[in-house]
């Protein structure tokens, strides 16, 4: 089966996010005052061939642990959807 995988990667809570803070300041000075808690993360999308959704999720999890995310400072969230 063909799956679409989306991995959202963000800093774990408590880790500084200097990029988010800088963007927040820039938005403020452009007059977008109402924005706060700006955070920047990474999204990795790919197609994956797997027997079923459980296997796809397990494979994606392994990929995150070994390569895609850095568990020391990042957490990740995986979404699996069947390809139409």
């Amino acid at each position: 089966m063909n799956f679409d995988i989306t991995v959202e990667i963000r800093g774990v809570d408590g880790v500084a996010d200097p990029e988010g803070r800088t963007i927040e300041r820039a938005l403020g000075s452009l007059g977008f005052g109402g924005a706060s808690q700006v955070h920047v993360g990474k999204t990795i999308t790919f197609a994956l061939v797997a027997d079923d959704a459980t296997v796809a999720k397990a494979t994606a999890t392994q990929m995150c642990e070994r390569l895609l995310a850095n568990p020391v400072i990042e957490r990740y969230e995986i979404t699996v959807t069947l390809r139409p």
């Binding site: 800088t22 820039a26 452009l30």
Partner: protein, 232 residues
């Protein structure tokens, strides 16, 4: 006559002193203008130097483009004044829409600090007016995001209008058509990734940057921005 040059410094810029030294040695009178200023003063040319303006957060040059001084730089450029963006300055100029295209992460995904051999592709710009097409120069590159991109239509337009200023002989970063530097249509706004100011000092490995910077200064003096158009 002495060319008066404003060198723009954003928080995070770091090549402003180097540019001032190199241009100063060629006879220019340089002022470092902090990004919070709103006026350039009466200058003949503007340089946006290398560095990491606003930390290069979000995208290189994206936040710098909104610094107060950038309105004055834009007016100066639109009035025909000589504007040169080096490395991060090139990124700022593309983000500000003063030059076409965009600069992306190096194809090899690594920062690169090394010499590059370049070929002058046009002498129709403030930077290369004193060079001939086909001249070779060696200048250091120093960037993580120098991979020039523009779509096919823009590229065709650049070629047609003679706006490709410099090309790499050996493409270090994946740039479209080996482009290392481009100009706007009039040739008064130029951006390039390599650092001519690093190839100018007496004991530097290469001194090929001098002819380019010298060209920029002469061009700035003879093609003064039309004052009536500034701020128009």
């Amino acid at each position: 006559m002495t060319a008066r040059i404003a060198i723009i410094s954003f928080p995070g810029s770091n090549c402003e002193y180097d540019v001032a030294e190199a241009l100063g040695a060629l006879g220019a009178e340089c002022t470092i203008v902090f990004h919070d200023a709103t006026e350039l003063g009466g200058v003949d040319g503007v340089v946006i130097p290398g560095g990491f303006a606003h930390g290069d957060y979000l995208r290189c040059g994206a936040i710098a483009r909104f610094s107060p001084i950038m309105s004055a730089v834009t007016d100066f450029a639109n009035a025909g004044g000589a504007v040169l963006g080096i490395c991060n300055g090139f990124q700022v100029l593309t983000e500000a829409g003063l030059l076409p295209g965009a600069l992306q992460r190096n194809a090899g995904l690594r920062f690169l600090c090394e010499p590059a051999v370049l070929e002058v592709a046009s002498s129709n710009s403030n930077l290369t007016a004193k060079c001939a097409r086909g001249d070779r120069v060696v200048l250091p590159i120093n960037h993580g995001e120098g991979n020039y991109y523009c779509d096919a239509a823009t590229l065709a337009e650049l070629e047609e209008n003679d706006q490709v200023v410099l090309r790499y002989l050996h493409n270090p970063n994946g740039s479209v058509s080996n482009i290392a530097g481009v100009s706007n249509r009039r040739g008064n706004v130029v951006g390039l990734m390599p650092h001519p100011e690093r190839a100018a000092a007496a004991l530097a490995t290469s001194t090929d940057g001098r002819v380019l910077l010298d060209s920029f200064l002469s061009w700035a003096l003879t093609n003064a921005a039309s004052p009536t158009m500034i701020g128009a």
